[in-house]
Amino acid sequence: MSPSFLLVLVPLLPLVAAIVTVLVGRRLGSRAHLPAVAGIAAAAVVAFVLLVITARNSGGGEHPRPVDMVTTLWQWATVSDAYVPAADSPAAVPGTAVGADAHAARSFSIAVALRLDPLTATMLMIITGVGLLVAIYSIGYMHDDPGYPRFFALVAMFVFSMSMLVAASNFLLVYVFWEAVGACSYLLIGFWFQKPEAARAAKKAFLVNRVGDFGLAIGVFLLWLTYGTLDFHDTLSPDGTILPGILGQTRLADVSGYVGGAVGTAICLLLLLAACGKSAQLPLHVWLPDAMEGPTPASALIHAATMVTAGIYLIARSAPLYMACPGALVTVSIVGTSTALVAALIGTVQNDLKRVLAYSTISQLGFMFASLGTGTLLGFTAAIFHLLTHAFFKALLFLGAGSVMHSMGGVIDMRRFGGLRKLMPITAATFLIGSLALAGVAPFAGFFSKDEILASLHHKGWPSAHGEHGEHHAFLPVLPETAAAGPTLHDVGYRGVADHGEHTIAAADPVGLDALDRPGVWQALFWMALVTAGLTAFYTFRAVFMTFTGPLRVPEEAGDHAHESPRVMTLPLIILAVPATLAGFVLFTTEGLSRFLAATPSFTAPAVTATAAPAVFHWDLALQGTLAAALGIVIAAVGHLGRRSDGPQLERWLGPVRPFFENRMFIDQLYTAVIIKPVEAVAYLAAMFDRGIIDRLVRGVARLPVSVGNLMRRLQSGLVQRYALAGVVGVLAIIVLLAWRL
């Protein structure tokens, strides 16, 4: 049972389960969940084993060894002699050539390879763990649905695609499975496709994701052109040279192995575009609230815990690439923080419980992006930490909302029900735990991860307060030896680094993004994040109070459903409540996660480790965060607790701003006017062209034989004399011909 085999098992088992469910699901009837649940459960067990193996291999302690186990399954595509790297491009081997010519023609080869490292192991555990709980929950939730087998096949398919995405060791494979999870998401959002809103929401999600996929595709092209390979890991070429992968040990060890400047920033911004599409950040966030049309377990799995985290994963994985472009990093943070704030503002006026949670997801993902953009080891680790805790408490909240929706007969508008804590005690208790975690109240999980994110922003905004001399991204201390050795492989206009052995920022910065990397900007981002934390607490507890407190009100659609959900649905809620409570505390105090993740190859880049700071619990930040959360909860209580839980109370105070929030800041309308209408106009023109010109042409061509035939028809008159005439004319023609010849 080698790690390679186990790593292949994790995606393989859900794939087999999906295929089996597709083939025999109809026949299994109400037991159609069995293959999917079994497959995902087995995958979860294997993922846990892999986690243990990886943890053991990372060595622990102060200096974790990078863990990097690659399994190559088969060679997918090879084009020999596809690329000849320039002598001084980063695609050339950075000084560690083993064997002959380092500049020989490179072949374009894509191997289906999986890589196991701590980041992958963590993500796999989240995906399979939450996937398993969601699958168990769905047994109860989707109980009477005619599409029961289809749902489980799709969930298993999704788990497979997502596992491959995080395990893939090649950017092209990542792209393939990026698309695959997008397709599964489309299928799951549009699960009840007969409902027109659901079909439209699915289409919208797919099309908006497509914009991001376009960014990823161009980014992959640029990566190939820049680095000469798409693999993460190092590979051996046939003549014995090490071909350094983009995120392989060879390139990571070299201080200047990554391209900055215009090309590097372009790559990073394109990857950011892709991440925005998948993780629903500004401006591509519009699909996530509409995606709530899908079944709630699908929302819990895809739009809370796993698929939307693919963007975070991509940027975290590409950390060394980002470290070379400070402008791109600050852009990531700006995008994330503004998204968090905007989404939180919109979420305060939503009346649909699932929409509140959707905007909450967008907001929390924004937090993660903000943390990633700080470009410090603390920032990256905090983002993954928050991803982990968010997966737990958000899945918990979504499944709880599903439980409420199930018992209220499909009604999810909070104004129509209230006081459900007596009716559904387990759901109420677990939802409360999830809300406390989301709001960031100590000692629940969200508190620690949010605290770390605020800490990373604070580090960037007030560097002196943390004992670092305020330096910009001088991550490339040009070592004296390499400078003295004359022009090196990397001393060219790509990054414009002067080879004088001094600290320089990448000089080629055409867009001016690097100029944003100032403490002032980071301070503004910090305050925005703090305000968003307060807003998070507010809207979360507004939802809690409106749903669970006050007098008991049940809408008439509930019928006889209005009771606590069955055990198969409440059990995952209880199971998820445990890590939502404890995970933060445990992982933070033992520093287990940060040490574990520090062994990820992407985070062992010298640029990243140079920013490592000792993990300290910042009491002042914790106090600020808790104050913000408490303020939010109190305002929510004032507005919506108890007897006031049945309607818009505080929103009246928002006055003229309120319709602005309620209409989601009119972004959808803006997109319709600016993008959709012109595209429809162009499509209309194309249709006119097609019908008017091309069709006419084709019909004209069809008329030609008919016209010629009509002409020939006239010869057939039925009159004998005319036939005789034709014969005589023919004879004359022959005679003339013969006479001419002679």
Partner: protein, 155 residues
């Protein structure tokens, strides 16, 4: 084969005259077939063509001093006779079915999209019939041919 004494070769003008006559007969016959509508006249023209050929054959035979041409003429004449018998039977059948000796009466093999070819001017000789005394009907009157009014009687 030819007895040496029998035929002196005729001079060239004789040949030319003979061929001219034959050509005139042949072309008259050809024009007749193509132009006339009466079936018997058409047949007559065909016979005329054959006679023209015969004259040409005889002229050539005189010119070359070879009896072969004239022998062929005898064949042609006998064939013409047989052909006349067959053709007249055919004309008789045609007349029985349509009651007219008009070749334009037979147009049913034309293309379905084409209209029937009709006469645009019916000559005065065929226009209004003189008024005949009305007699008491004796027996069944034959059915009127619908197309008869479209075409001239006299061909």
């Amino acid at each position: 084969m030819t007895p040496a004494v029998l035929l002196a070769a005729a001079p060239l003008p004789l040949l030319q005259n003979g061929l001219m006559v034959g050509a005139i007969l042949f072309s008259l016959g050809l024009v007749g077939i193509l132009t006339r509508r009466n079936l018997i006249v058409m047949f007559l023209s065909a016979e005329l063509m054959l006679q023209g050929i015969s004259v040409s054959l005889v002229a050539w035979s005189r010119y070359h001093g070879d009896f072969g041409g004239q022998v062929l003429v005898v064949f042609v004449l006998s064939v013409a006779a047989c052909e006349a018998a067959v053709a007249l039977v055919f004309v008789l059948q045609a007349f029985t079915r349509t009651g007219r000796l008009d070749s334009a009466a037979w147009q049913s093999l034309r293309e379905s999209t084409l209209a029937r070819s009709v006469d645009h001017e019916i000559p005065a000789i065929d226009s209004p019939l003189p008024v005949f005394p009305r007699l008491t009907p004796a027996g069944v009157s034959p059915e009127a041919d619908a197309d008869a009014a479209l075409q001239r009687e006299h061909v």
